[in-house]
């Protein structure tokens, strides 16, 4: 049975009412127990309403249309940029670039580095440093970059308890290191990495620091300057916003040094048939009609999270994660992949159960209305590091209740009995 947990959001029941999907039933009448928020978060009514209102009343293209609706749409879009800038404490709104998602933001960075000239250029003898716990979206773009430019890709390994192995940091971060790109919070292991400390070391050798904040932005207060990042990416749909919108934040001076990514409308100053000159950031990186209503929805989403308070959400996640780790520890044959101290990790917990494949676990849980993710969670190297092919992952968020964790634990007990493991 669940008990009163310290740190759980005091108005949890009110918050849950903000998310209409949480009141629906699935799998033949079971209340939905949504424990897949690291995959995508659910959306509060205010985000849905804001997007509907924008489409119903203010829809027009941005920055091009010389009419009232165009002005309203542009204002809504640029207001969203202000809201995102405030959410991540960006020193300037011009440092906030809207992308399609975090993957596109990271690819934007890796591609523009491939095209950069001068001090940002990367070539033979240079090194790009990542980690073994990255999501594929923070591995593959760097593989492509280093392969195309003849540079070397290196990575931090992992300790047995799922942390970065920093024992060889002096060797890994060296005068050849041009870029250090790492995740703030692991989507598989839940580990919170010492980003600021690694950034400090990277800056000592003049390397650029890229931070994948896809899992951090939903649950930790983000201050881009304090984080030590030079560039930081996250996606809208994991911070209760819509899909189709992501964010790249970059130091203004660095963004202005990077060459354009996509060429097209709105990223130029002037175009002739022979050549073009380019707008400054952020517009330099926003070619074509952007995801307007998605940006507006993201603005409402970060306002919603700010209203509840990221510190409070972080405490809630820690409380729920701690409670879940306790519950999971009662399941025979269950092994958690990643740190076991809730204060040192985010709200995604991947685990294995001896004798049942993750797909089968997820299937049985689904039949009871419990939604989790099963597979490699786009982190195959991290799974390989722990000698597993795949895992089951539960991930909580600000709307997760202790009772939902109880439902997961009961579901796992049932799964073991269903597959006759006792």
């Amino acid at each position: 049975m669940s008990r009163e947990l310290t740190g759980v959001l005091p108005e949890l029941e009110v918050i849950r009412k903000d998310f209409p999907i949480l009141s629906r039933t699935v799998s033949g009448g079971h209340p939905l127990v949504y424990l897949d928020s690291a995959n995508t978060s659910q959306k509060p009514q205010v985000v849905i309403d804001t997007m509907v209102d924008h489409l119903e009343r203010h829809n027009a293209n941005v920055a091009r249309a010389m009419h009232q609706l165009g002005a309203e749409a542009s204002e809504a879009f640029e207001d969203a940029r202000d809201k995102v800038a405030a959410f991540i404490k960006a020193p300037s709104r011009d440092e906030v670039v809207f992308t399609k998602n975090a993957t596109e933001a990271l690819n934007l960075v890796a591609n523009t580095f491939a095209w950069a000239e001068g001090e940002l250029s990367i070539g033979a003898g240079d090194e790009v440093l990542i980690t073994e716990m990255e999501h594929h979206s923070n591995i593959v773009p760097w593989q492509l970059l280093t392969q195309r430019k003849g540079a070397t890709l290196r990575w931090f390994g992992l300790t047995d308890d799922g942390r970065l192995d920093l024992s060889n940091i002096d060797e890994l971060i060296n005068e050849r290191t041009k870029v250090v790109s790492l995740t703030w919070v692991s989507n598989m292991l839940g580990t919170i990495n010492p980003v600021a400390e690694i950034a400090r070391r990277a800056h000592e050798v003049g390397a650029i620091v890229v931070v994948d904040a896809s899992q951090a932005a939903p649950q930790l207060p983000v201050d881009v300057v304090a984080s030590g990042a030079d560039l930081l990416a996250f996606t809208g749909h994991k911070v209760v916003g819509p899909t189709g919108i992501g964010v790249l934040w970059g130091r203004k001076s660095l963004l202005d040094q990077l060459p354009p990514f996509h060429g097209g409308g709105e990223m130029i100053e002037t175009v002739t048939m022979e050549r073009s000159t380019y707008a400054k950031a952020p517009h330099r990186f926003e070619a074509g009609t952007p995801p307007i209503v998605e940006a507006v929805g993201l603005g409402a989403a970060v306002d919603y999270l700010t209203h509840i308070g990221l510190e409070n959400i972080h405490l809630h996640e820690q409380a729920i994660t701690g409670y879940a780790l306790e519950g999971l520890a009662t399941i025979p044959g269950l092994t958690v992949l990643g740190p076991l101290d809730a204060t040192q990790r985010g709200g995604a917990i991947s685990f294995e159960i001896d004798g049942v494949h993750p797909h089968d676990i997820a299937q049985v849980l689904d039949a009871r209305g419990v939604a989790v993710r099963a597979g490699h969670h786009c982190a195959k190297p991290a799974h390989a590091r722990f000698g597993v092919q795949s895992s089951t992952r539960m991930s909580s968020y600000l709307y997760t209740t202790p009772a939902e964790i109880d439902a997961l634990v009961e579901g796992l007990e049932y799964t073991r009995s269903y597959f006759k493991l006792d």
């Binding site: 799998s27 033949g28 009448g29 079971h30 049942v356 494949h357 993750p358 797909h359 089968d360 299937q363 049985v364 039949a367 009871r368 099963a374 597979g375 490699h376 195959k380 799974h383 092919q389 795949s390 269903y418 597959f419 006759k420």
Partner: protein, 157 residues
């Protein structure tokens, strides 16, 4: 649990499937073989390495052996076991017809009535067809077998 969800779950996890999962038949890579393939399900990471040995038996090209090594969920593992047991010893032409019949069953979204005379234990997978996300699990080793057999036949030409 509600009746429909538990019924569907029981339809998916037939006893035959769980038996094959716990005690897979013909598992392990063996010699001789003409072709070896490696197939993966990129969404979940299930993998199978599968070998096919074809032999001429009284003028009929026959599946003399199917051996495999695999990792994955109960559905993909049981499916490999059922397939190998069903197909080993069958003429290639008949085995291809069985393959086709299994494929039709899997792609039928639960509307296809399986033919037990053709599919034997394979009919246990009828319930899988109602779970679109699991159809690829059931088909992984069958697709690998077809691929390996086609390669074997190319080799022997």
């Amino acid at each position: 649990m509600s009746p429909s969800a538990s019924t569907d779950l029981d339809a998916l996890y037939q006893e035959i499937i769980l038996d094959h999962y716990k005690n897979p038949l013909h598992k392990g890579l063996r010699e001789p073989f003409e072709a070896e393939v490696h197939h993966v399900n990129p969404t979940c990471g299930d993998e199978v390495t599968l070998r096919v040995h074809l032999a001429d038996e009284d003028g009929v090209l026959t599946v003399a052996d199917v051996s495999y090594d695999s990792v994955g969920c109960s559905i993909s593992q049981a499916s490999a076991s059922v397939m190998a047991d069903l197909i080993i010893g069958k003429p290639v032409e008949e085995a291809m017809a069985i393959h086709e019949s299994f494929l039709t069953l899997m792609q039928g979204k639960g509307t296809v009535e399986p033919d037990e005379d053709v599919l034997e234990d394979g009919i246990a997978f009828a319930g899988v067809a109602k779970f679109p996300a699991r159809v690829k699990c059931a088909l992984l080793s069958w697709m690998a077998w077809k691929d390996a057999t086609a390669t074997s036949m190319e080799e022997s030409k």
